[in-house]
Symmetry: C2
């Protein structure tokens, strides 16, 4: 029955349903974005749905209308967060015409990220730690980790290419190194350590030539 009903009526129905879905999803992302604001401020442990709602233009009921439960909301936040992060350095990679240019571009973006988006990044580290306890987070977190590793790898291979070399270590090791450095610098920066940013930059500047 459903098979045969491929007329105009069904096409319209399908189209309108797709439109609704799209609208629904757009709203979800709007809500996730608002939630990220509070999550970045308070962290996962201290953030409640009511707090999220109060810090946004929405009421707490809306969140339950668009998300089946709290984990669903947080998962959506994490996935949305991913898209923002993974391409951060891509423009520098594609436009740089020399090693120095790439180095400086990378360092500048690194410093700006640490300074301007500290809250979003501490949330990322928070959620990645939560994934060690909460299985529901793992899939998304591991996926983001992979994407970030690939992002670092793109920088490294481009850097090596500009010097007619090849990276000296594996993507995993390289990502671990930069992630560890960034995490440490972030904590120090949040603890009002003035030297956190310059120390990170100095360390990365010294490291880059040794890995390729």
């Amino acid at each position: 029955m459903a098979r045969q009903a491929t007329g105009a009526a069904q096409r319209v129905a399908v189209a309108s349903e797709a439109l609704r879905d799209e609208k629904f999803n757009a709203r979800r992302i709007e809500l996730a974005e608002a939630a990220l604001e509070t999550l970045g401020e308070l962290g996962f442990a201290r953030t409640s749905l009511r707090e999220i709602a109060q810090n946004s233009a929405f009421t707490h009921g809306v969140f339950h209308y668009y998300f089946s439960d709290k984990l669903d909301l947080i998962c959506c936040c994490v996935r949305h967060y991913k898209a923002k992060c993974v391409t951060r350095y891509d423009e520098v990679v594609t436009t740089a015409r020399s090693r120095d240019e790439l180095t400086e571009g990378f360092l500048a973006k690194l410093a700006a990220t640490l300074r301007d988006e500290a809250r979003m990044h501490r949330l990322w580290y928070d959620l990645r730690s939560q994934a060690m306890f909460e299985p529901a987070f793992r899939k998304d977190v591991l996926e983001i980790d992979k994407s970030l590793e690939a992002m670092i790898w793109r920088i490294a291979t481009r850097y090596a290419e500009l010097g007619n070399r090849k990276p000296a270590s594996s993507p995993a090791a390289l990502y671990a190194l930069f992630d560890g450095l960034f995490q440490s610098a972030l904590l120090r920066h949040l603890a009002n350590d003035e030297k956190a940013v310059p120390d990170l930059l100095e360390e990365v500047r010294r490291l880059l030539p040794t890995i390729c």
Copy 2:
């Protein structure tokens, strides 16, 4: 008045007070140890004082008698946790008589740690992330981080020494590298990735000769 009263009576009083303090502190550590059990199981976000008490031989009131509040308890846990961790590889470092011996000893301990103490370590990463939100944690966390960095550095310098060389990178970079690798391996291991441990060992085995 207090200055002049340096007789036997005061000495006794001071001694008995010191004894009380010591006993008080021993109890605190007992409680902290019990709390760590539950914290490692559930993580910081999901652990309540009542849950801690229920999973231990104590009642929830005792915790409030020995700790001014929840943060005080967690801080004590973190500090106590530190002492356990920081000397983990020291025996291997002092007994190894060759590079190979050190490598194999280190790798064996690394694998055992990842397998047997996964819960304690995910708690460490959880608390370190929490420190990005909760200023009260920062001092202790930064201190532990420094101790762990020194621990890695002891391994690296000994490894270099056994080959008549010097480490090629800074303590901070080296710690960042190993910490990043371990953190990633831990997450994969907790996600039931069978290859997490062997992959880490392989990576470290390949890395060690390149850093010294």
